[in-house]
């Protein structure tokens, strides 16, 4: 990531740089020393937004811990104490809880951007893997964070999700041994809350580490771009600072307005009212739903009648993203020049959103009512099959058979052509 072109302006800076060249590292990574393709659009804003959200979560999280107690007898009260008594406690908690949702929104867009413009293709496969690892760590972090307020959804969400691991019951008692190890008891209880707290504190910092690797892997080939062609000559690139720092900052201010709308005007819209009832191991809420960002995968879990295969299907639906670079056999990266690929990409998005919608429904709920009536379970099965078909059938075939549109020879050429026409 480093850059040898960095020249410190002050004498002190020079003295320091000779001893620890960290300013040069930053300059070459996120400053004027890093040259990025000149045609990046706003979809390229979401990487830095994700970085911003990570910082927000860590900052608000560290402060929340100062007022929180990870114990079944105190956790729920501690969160109420934060909401009612601690100065600006409500703001910190609402920022953290809505921040988790915003973080996922940003990361989902960031991932889908990569899918559309072929950023996962050679030579960026490892970059793509590291991104997926970050996403998996976020899922784990978000799940364990949601347990901390120790409300009804916290408790029962934790119960249902940890029980998934009981499906790995390959000899008698194995499933139970795994569960007792995870819980530190015979059900979700105080030991579970305490270990989740410990890991919820730790994992974000592991994410920071993987983010550094992610950026390192990014800077070897450099950023992809909307055309998906390699940036070659100096005419294809501009320095990251001030061009993209300014563009990202503009996007960030827009994003913060939306973030603030949630925090100040609808702070509970993405939460569940049952989580304002303290956890009670004797009563399951009449309807358990996970956080919205897990919903599509939850539908896939429910779609499979067998417990073990349901769990396998759910994990596969995420892990399959790891092989995408090889499922896609096209020579062209960007879907801009692959009309059929773009078409199926949008179908995939619609199907994924539909899967998410079904995740909020009881399996028996009637969704389409035409005389007979089709329930959520049946639709969930169809949508799950379509989800996997996209990866296993559509992408491999379409990417190899599609005749692509002509690709511009260089980024500079394409920008100049557009200028002439416009």
């Amino acid at each position: 990531m480093g850059s040898s072109t960095y020249v410190p302006k002050s004498k002190a800076g020079k003295w320091f740089e000779e001893r620890l060249p960290i300013m040069g590292l930053i300059h070459g990574t996120l400053g004027a020393g890093y040259n990025a393709p000149r045609n990046l659009n706003y979809w390229w804003n979401f990487g830095s937004l994700a970085g911003f959200m990570l910082v927000v979560q860590i900052l608000t999280g560290i402060i929340l811990v100062m007022h929180y107690t990870p114990h079944v007898d105190f956790a729920f009260r501690a969160v109420e104490h934060i909401m009612r008594d601690v100065n600006y406690g409500w703001l910190l908690r609402y920022t953290h809880s809505n921040g988790a949702s915003m973080f996922f929104v940003v990361v989902y867009i960031h991932i889908l951007r990569g899918m559309y413009f072929g950023s996962y293709k050679s030579p960026r496969e490892v970059l793509w893997f590291l991104g997926l690892v970050i996403y998996l760590l976020m899922m784990a972090t978000g799940f364990m964070g949601y347990v901390l307020p120790w409300g009804q959804m916290s408790f029962w969400g934790a119960t249902v999700i940890t029980n998934l691991f009981g499906a790995f019951n390959f000899y008698d008692g194995m499933g139970d041994s795994i569960l007792h190890l995870l819980w530190g008891g015979f059900s979700v209880d105080n030991p579970t809350l305490q270990r989740f707290f410990s890991l919820h504190y730790l994992l974000p910092f592991v994410i920071v580490g993987v983010v550094i690797l992610h950026i390192w892997a990014l800077h070897l080939p450099g950023s992809n771009n909307p055309l998906g062609i390699d940036a070659k000559g100096p005419g294809d690139k501009i320095p990251f600072h001030p061009y993209y720092t300014a563009k990202d900052a503009f996007g960030l201010s827009f994003f913060i307005v939306i973030f603030a709308l949630f925090i100040f005007y609808m702070p509970n819209i993405m939460g569940h009212p049952d989580n304002y009832i303290e956890a009670n191991p004797m009563v399951t809420p009449s309807h358990i739903v996970p956080e919205w960002y897990y919903l599509p995968f939850y539908t896939i879990l429910k779609a499979v009648p067998d417990k073990l295969f349901g769990v396998i299907a759910m994990f596969s639906s995420i892990l399959i993203f790891f092989v995408l670079p090889w499922l896609d056999g096209s020579k062209v990266r960007s879907a801009k020049f692959r009309p059929a690929t773009a078409f199926f990409f949008w179908l995939f998005i619609i199907n994924a959103i539909f899967l998410g919608y079904l995740g909020t429904k009881l399996p028996s709920a009637i969704i389409i009512n035409m005389g007979g009536g089709i329930d959520a379970l049946t639709l969930g099965r169809i949508a799950s099959v379509l989800y996997f078909a996209y990866f296993i059938v559509v992408v491999p075939l379409v990417s190899r058979m599609e005749s692509t549109k002509p690709v511009p020879t260089s980024i500079a050429q394409s920008v100049l052509d557009a200028r002439k026409e416009g």
Binding site: T159, F186, D189, P191, M282, T284, I288, K307
Partner: protein
């Protein structure tokens, strides 16, 4: 490779090879034994294990009622079954089931059904349909993903793989049980 005192031939087992493997094995054993406490601390601790049993006096539970008691952080259903319920359970003994069991094997005394009230799918607490014998099977219904259990707690429909679990219990006298 040449050493001071001898020339090693390929495929010959030398003292160096032996020491290399032996060191590796001892190192691996060391790493595993050092890691084990780090893993095992996650298992239930002594005080959690010590809470292993509860005693319940059932004399105050009228016929046709269920009470829930907490054992090891889980609800235990104790149902005082009516004669009609027992008859229904027995009459369905030969119906198709995922986890076949006879009604008489589900309870030590047929009128007292003692079960862990945790759905064997993903651990929710099933709702009681017993009072009005509602639902298809008149037993328990799990709201989470729709599993249905009959009046003997046997799984009859839905994703749950097994019948509601029966904890270890013994009668201390006619109406008192010790669970665990």
């Amino acid at each position: 490779m040449t050493t001071n005192d001898q020339i090693e031939h390929e495929e010959e087992v030398t003292r160096r090879n032996f020491l290399y493997v032996a060191t590796g094995v001892v190192g691996a054993v060391g790493v595993v034994s050092a890691a084990w406490p780090l893993v095992d601390q996650m298992n239930p601790s002594a005080d959690v294990l010590a809470l292993a049993s509860v005693e319940v006096d059932m004399s105050s539970i009228p016929e046709g009622q269920t009470v829930k008691v907490l054992w090891r952080g889980k609800p235990i259903f104790i149902r005082h079954r009516t004669a009609k319920e027992i008859a229904r359970g027995v009459s369905e003994d030969n119906d198709p089931m995922k986890d076949p069991a006879l009604d008489k094997d589900r309870a030590q005394k047929p009128e007292w059904l003692v079960m862990i009230g945790i759905c064997t799918h993903l651990g929710c607490v099933p709702l009681d349909n017993t009072e009005f014998q509602s639902g298809e099977y008149g037993g328990w219904y799990c709201p989470c993903h729709g599993s249905e259990y009959d009046i003997a707690g046997r799984i009859r429909k839905g994703p749950a793989p097994r019948n509601l679990e029966i904890p270890k219990y013994e009668y201390l006298n006619d109406t008192t049980v010790k669970i665990g």
